[in-house]
């Protein structure tokens, strides 16, 4: 029952992400636009390119969606609303999200086209940049909570949210989350101006719908993870827990989608250089600082 409810909420969340994304692009709130777009997409032909790697071509969108759903399975929306409260929840989120890379590599290789392939390779480079910046801030968060349970992580922020306790970790995690979801300015694998759609370019019809749905689910899952780890989850005065979760997640989503509109795409070389030269030392510093705080503060 909880599972079904959460999956429905995930679908609703994905729909709202689509609405917010249209708003960031056009400046208008079109509540019905994603619905029409989805139906239209399902009604179009599904084309398979000549000589694809059929297995990869079919599996990639599904794997993207599954990895987002699996990551969402350990995210608590309220103290009882979680699909499975794994004891290693915080680590499991990262484990599930790594398969986004596998999915995009398959989507890059499968269609047998230059643009998709380059998009896939670029995403691998992007992973090397963001992978550490996802895991290390999570480590610091877990240090404060003294547990990998996501519910425990939220409860540990009862007094002070992690965004105040470890702001450095928040910034790094936020940036890395945007890179993981290949949102602008990190949209290297699906660059519209450079790769004519990249990994997404060769998908049509149902497969494209699944791919896009997977991407939306990924964005909302990452927003939910940010809220869990840094923004105190469901905690807040006056409103019921689920309302706070919803508000926070939507605000984080809107921020993630909005930021990228105002700057050009980052260069891959720059992304790698900055993440490894600045990002990782800062993440280590963050762990150190949190360690000191955890030991010193009562």
């Amino acid at each position: 029952m909880t599972t079904v409810l959460i999956l429905l909420l995930l679908a609703l969340g994905a729909y709202l992400v689509a609405v917010i994304e249209t708003w960031t692009i056009t400046g208008r709130f079109q509540l019905a636009a994603p619905l029409f777009a989805g139906i239209a997409l399902l009604g179009r032909e599904s084309i398979v390119p000549r000589k694809p790697d059929r297995i990869f071509f079919e599996v990639a969108p599904v794997l993207l969606l599954i990895s987002a759903i699996l990551a969402a399975a350990v995210v608590p929306l309220t103290p009882d609303l979680i699909i499975t409260d794994l004891a290693t929840g915080a680590l499991f989120i990262n484990a599930a999200l790594v398969y986004v890379l596998v999915a995009l590599l398959m989507a890059g290789w499968g269609p047998d086209g230059a643009y998709a392939m380059i998009g896939g390779w670029r995403f691998l480079g992007q992973l090397i940049a963001y992978a550490m910046l996802i895991v290390m801030p999570i480590t610091a968060v877990v240090m404060r909570a003294e547990s990998l349970l996501t519910t425990q992580i939220v409860v540990s922020q009862a007094g002070v949210w992690n965004i105040v306790y470890q702001p450095l970790g928040f910034v790094l995690f936020f940036i890395a989350a945007m890179a993981l979801a290949f949102l602008p300015p990190f949209d290297l694998p699906t660059a519209k101006g450079e790769l004519a759609g990249g990994v997404e370019a060769e998908y049509t019809g149902v497969r494209l719908a699944v791919f896009r749905l997977g991407r939306l689910a990924l964005i909302i899952t990452l927003a939910a993870a940010t809220v869990i780890f840094y923004l105190g989850g469901w905690q807040g005065p006056w409103l019921p827990p689920w309302a706070w979760s919803a508000i926070k997640i939507l605000v984080v989503t809107a921020t993630m989608l909005l930021i990228g509109r105002f700057m050009p795409r980052i260069r891959e070389a720059d992304l790698l250089a900055w993440c490894w030269i600045f990002g990782i030392p800062l993440a280590l510093l963050n762990i150190f600082l949190v360690g000191v705080l955890v030991l010193v503060l009562p």
């Binding site: 599904s46 300015p185 101006g193 004519a196 105002f262 795409r265």
Partner: protein, 655 residues
């Protein structure tokens, strides 16, 4: 009724889908959003959602008349769109090979909105049809040719065996011929193409000599050794002959013939024989081993751990892929990836419409490139023209939809130069006003394209809306828009990541062949307006910057916009150039104009009032040649930014 309908009867669920499709119109623009904006169309406001890939589009929107080569490319794009698909033509009747347009409208915003209304009803009613015919065109027929993975030069039209090495020929698509049969999404035959275009040189180690007794071995499997010719039992290749006493047939073992040799197994150094053969323990070919081990220059790139006495067991003669790839040209980042030839254009989002950039990519680094314009506008260069001056001016003006006023002015000035006329100062000032207004619109259009290319969405929308406003603005409106331009410039100077995206990219040294903003960004303050007395009277000074990189070009164009506003204000009026009446004049003359992209020169010959010869020299023609050396060894994103920063207009490129 739409020709690109999808098979099916319009009932029940499909009706719902048709209605959804009518509400969700995604368009692929031909020749590009830059041309659409140059004609004053705001397609997003009209309800069309532009997409980057034809596979995601349901409407193919053709803006204006397009030349034959582009039409063929457009036909390929149309074939790549998924059904149901609609062909929407503005300002043109579609000519073959495209099918007849489903909706036709004029080239104005009102007509566009009207046409879109028709589109929606066309979708709602005609998206599904029980009887559909496929769209077919000659250039869509893919010619399958057969090629040998080892010898890319061997190409046949039927399957068979390679005459050189006996391997089975693999099928692959015929390569691009003139380039104009390819559109964005070239689907390539993965492996065969890869092998054909890769430079794995397994077949070229034929340093065979002549008199000594021969034995036959397989280049891929050196353990296969026979005394007579034949095929390798493992892979089917013809066995290569090799001298019994000299070098084995693979790249990295070249030795002199003189010194005494003995044969040893690389895996088992204890096995030593005096004649060649196979190692009794592992079946490997015995390697010749001699005292003097000379290595050729080919191995300079690898550290010399290939001599046999120190051969480590894991390092088999043919197995090390490091060795196999050692002769591959390395790109700038040192990683040997597959060589892919990919077309970027002619309708690539982010590049000017009509520009075909064929890149040979080594991974995501550009290893080679070929840039050309598919718009062949050479008709005006004919020596034996005969048209009256008025229509000549119109022809020249309509030639380049991205800078019509500049070319109109050029033609008028050339005519006046032939006639030896002088134009009154206020007309000259008004003409300058029009020229500068077009410069502003052109630079804003470039900014919008740049924003699209770099994923800078805010810039794309802001520059596009400003361009549409400036295009036909009068003096008062232009001055009212000045704060908007200043805000844009200030915002761009503060944009994070913009500087890192463009600084140091595409550096050009000051060079006489550079023109326009490209030259001025390299520090050359050449500007045709400096020599024009009208402009000088209005207080014109050229802008220039040091650096010569893409960032400098961006700033030069921003500065030029601001300067143009000041010039317009000083000019006080805006008026399109009108050709003078030349009567029955004869003579030659020439004129220059500083188009938004650089200096353009026109030489005219008139005979009896008719234009008989014209020679046009445009900046984009010169800048096109800059591309290949400039983007070599650049990462793909940087290469595209470089091409974009040159601000080419494919319409004015002379073949």
């Amino acid at each position: 009724m739409i020709t690109g309908a999808r098979q099916g009867t319009l009932s029940g669920l499909r009706r719902l889908v048709s209605i959804a499709m009518a509400r969700d119109l995604s368009a692929f623009l031909i020749p590009g959003p830059d041309i659409a904006r140059a004609h004053g169309l705001d397609f997003e406001a009209a309800g069309l959602h532009p997409v980057a890939s034809p596979r995601h589009a349901s409407v193919l929107l053709i803006v204006g008349a397009i030349p034959p080569a582009l039409r063929e490319a457009a036909a390929i794009i149309y074939a790549q769109m998924v059904r149901p698909r609609v062909l929407f033509a503005l300002g043109t009747e579609t000519l073959p090979p495209l099918p007849a347009a489903d909706v036709v409208a004029g080239l104005s915003q009102q007509d566009l909105i009207q046409g879109i209304r028709q589109l929606r009803s066309a979708f709602a009613e005609g998206a599904f049809r029980p009887d559909v015919s496929d769209f077919d065109a000659p250039m869509l027929h893919v010619r399958i040719e057969y090629t040998c993975p080892m010898h890319p030069e061997v190409v046949q039209s039927e399957p068979g065996s390679c005459p050189k090495c006996g391997m089975d020929l693999l099928p692959r698509e015929a390569q691009a011929t003139a380039g104009h049969t390819h559109a964005d999404h070239q689907e390539m035959d993965n492996s065969a193409d890869r092998q054909a275009t890769s430079t794995h040189d397994h077949g070229t180690h034929h340093t065979m000599v002549r008199d000594a007794p021969l034995e036959y071995t397989c280049p891929m499997h050196p353990e296969v050794v026979q005394r007579e010719p034949g095929s390798c039992p493992k892979c089917g290749m013809n066995l290569e002959p090799r001298e019994a006493q000299t070098e084995p047939t693979h790249d990295h073992h070249h030795m002199t013939h003189d010194a005494p040799v003995e044969y040893t197994c690389p895996m088992h150094p204890e096995v030593v024989q005096s004649e060649p053969g196979s190692c009794p323990k592992c079946g490997m070919t015995l390697e010749p081993h001699e005292m003097q081990d000379t290595q050729t220059q080919e191995h300079a790139g690898m550290d010399p751990h290939r001599d046999h006495s120190t051969m480590d067991p894991g390092d088999m003669a043919f197995m090390s892929m490091i060795d196999v790839t050692q002769d591959l040209p390395r790109s700038g980042d040192g990683l040997p990836m597959e060589w892919i030839e990919a077309p970027f254009g002619p309708f690539f989002p982010g590049l000017p419409g009509g520009l075909l950039l064929t890149l040979t990519l080594d991974g995501d680094t550009v290893a080679g490139s070929d840039a050309r314009s598919l718009i062949e506008n050479g008709d005006l260069l004919l020596q034996h023209l005969s048209m009256d001056s008025g229509s000549f001016v119109e022809r020249l003006a309509n030639r380049d939809p991205l800078a019509p006023v500049a070319y109109r002015l050029l033609a008028c000035r050339a005519l006046e130069n032939v006639a030896g006329m002088d134009i009154p100062a206020d007309t000259a000032c008004a003409r300058i006003g029009a020229l500068e207004r077009e410069r502003i619109a052109s630079h804003l259009g470039w900014l919008a394209l740049f924003g699209q290319q770099t994923g800078f969405d805010w810039l794309r929308r802001r520059a596009a809306s400003l361009q549409l406003k400036f295009r036909q603005a009068d003096l008062k409106q232009i001055l009212a828009l000045k704060p908007a331009i200043q805000a844009l410039t200030k915002r761009l100077k503060r944009t994070p990541l913009l500087e890192s995206r463009t600084a140091g990219i595409g550096q050009l040294a000051p060079d006489a062949t550079l023109r326009g903003p490209v030259a001025r960004a390299a520090g050359i303050s050449d500007d045709a307006r400096s020599t024009d007395k009208t402009c000088a009277a209005l207080g014109f000074t050229p802008v220039s910057r040091e650096g010569g990189d893409a960032l400098a070009r961006l700033h030069v164009r921003l500065d030029e916009i601001a300067h143009s506003i000041a010039l317009i204000k000083a000019a006080g009026a805006i008026e399109l150039p009108a050709p003078a009446h030349v009567g029955e004049l004869s003579g030659t003359g020439e004129a220059v104009v500083e188009t938004p992209r650089g200096l353009a020169r026109l030489q005219l010959t008139l005979e009896g009032g008719q234009v008989t010869a014209a020679q046009l020299d445009t900046p984009s023609t010169h800048h096109l040649t800059l591309i290949t050396p400039l983007i070599e060894q650049q990462e793909l994103g940087d290469a595209l930014v470089i091409v974009g920063s040159l601000d080419l207009s494919p319409w004015e490129i002379q073949p």
